[in-house]
């Protein structure tokens, strides 16, 4: 499977947010402002890449040989939660401003379905280590792309006269629907 196809499919054709419905909670929550979206995107990319490598190694060298595949979910989520807590502690010391800007959304990365989703998809697609890393980073870039596009639109949405009932999450969901319609255009171009 050539890597370019993986990158294209992960970012555009099968975008994790618009086509696979993963990571919607932080997507709706964080994409209010551009800076926090980028900060969250970078943090998710970092954690997703690290988590993908560690989960791939643990699955193929520990769980698979011992026939403990059913421990896959719990082992992965423990690794992800541990990594996020680690990133949180380190970030709090090294870069307090980004830490405060991300605020609640850093621990929320643990419950971010994309990271566990990607870890599981990597195993299901039987990627080797290079494909796993490339796929995870491209998915994270796709997630950040979706986040940044949404943040750009939402900042203008706040000034448009949206009816008071549709303000906030409702209008962002409808916008996400239209964006997802646009992203569907890519799906026919190339498949894995």
């Amino acid at each position: 499977m050539n890597l370019l196809a993986i990158v294209f499919v992960a970012i555009l054709a099968n975008n994790i947010v618009f086509n696979q419905f993963l990571g919607i909670c932080p997507y709706l929550g964080v994409s209010k402002r551009l800076e926090t979206s980028l900060g969250m995107g970078i943090a998710v990319t970092f954690v997703m890449a690290m988590a993908a490598i560690v989960t791939w190694v643990v699955y193929n060298y520990v769980l698979w040989p011992l026939h403990l595949e059913y421990l896959r979910t719990i082992a992965f989520i423990l690794i992800i939660a541990g990594l996020v807590q680690l990133v949180e502690t380190i970030l709090k010391k090294t870069n307090p401003t980004l830490f405060r800007a991300l605020g609640i959304f850093l621990p929320l990365i643990t419950t971010n379905c994309t990271i566990l989703g990607v870890a599981i998809l990597n195993i299901q697609a039987e990627h080797n280590i290079i494909e796993t890393v490339v796929y995870s980073i491209s998915v994270a870039v796709g997630f950040t792309l979706a986040l940044v596009i949404m943040a750009g639109i939402r900042e203008r949405l706040d000034l448009a006269n949206v009816s008071s009932y549709l303000r906030g999450a409702a209008v962002s969901l409808v916008t996400a629907g239209i964006l997802s319609l646009a992203f569907m255009g890519f799906s026919g171009m190339m498949t894995l």
Binding site: Q20, L78, L116, L166, A169, I178
Partner: protein, 200 residues
């Protein structure tokens, strides 16, 4: 202290996880292609939420704050895997329908959200009631969305064609964009209803 009935009813109306707290969006959007899936997902979330709330509030004083999240998520993951095993052993067709979404119940923001926001601070009794209330609220909202998307998307309810042959099903509802737009409009509708009924 809020009374027990309030604790239960708040999960369905005031703090409805889907329409008020806007949590647990990923499975809400993806599974509600059909009412049957939505119901199956709702019930498995209730079971997992109930067990996890009980255990989390049982160990709440033992777990040090720094490792709170990894510990709780491991408890939740255990229950989810058990539900996964039980479902694939005893209800295979529901298991096939729910596909990747059963493992994702682990990261369903609602369960960790309730563990973090509620079970960690309350007694086991209250946590049970909260779990039932929020779980029921979640299932009702999911089923409502499932019925709407299935009715207009494929012209049937629970699999039985209802809308007659002349009805041209709106395919978009069965696909990703439809889910986003339907839920967005439903959220708006509920905001209007809540405002009109004066529920803060």
């Amino acid at each position: 202290m809020t009374t027990l009935t309030q604790e239960f009813s708040k999960g369905i109306v005031q703090e409805n996880p889907v329409f008020r707290l806007v949590l647990g969006m990923c499975p809400t959007l993806a599974v509600t292609v059909s009412a049957m899936n939505a119901l199956g997902m709702g019930i498995s979330v209730i079971v997992v939420l109930l067990c996890s709330n009980i255990v989390v509030s049982a160990v709440r004083n033992v777990v040090p704050a720094k490792v709170r999240i990894p510990a709780y998520i491991m408890i939740i993951a255990t229950f989810v895997t058990i539900v996964e095993m039980v479902l694939s052993a005893f209800a295979p067709e529901l298991f096939d329908a729910l596909g990747i979404f059963i493992p994702l119940i682990v990261v369903n923001c609602i369960i960790l959200g309730r563990a973090e926001a509620f079970a960690r601070k309350n007694t086991i009794g209250r946590s049970i009631i909260d779990a039932l209330g929020i779980g029921l609220g979640y299932t009702l909202s999911l089923t409502l969305l499932g019925v709407i998307r299935e009715l207009f998307g494929t012209g049937s309810i629970l699999g039985y064609p209802v809308m007659g042959t002349a009805f041209e099903p709106m395919g978009v509802l069965a696909v990703a964009p439809g889910a986003f737009i339907t839920l967005g409009i439903l959220l708006g509708l509920f905001n209007y209803l809540f405002k009109r009924l004066g529920i803060e």
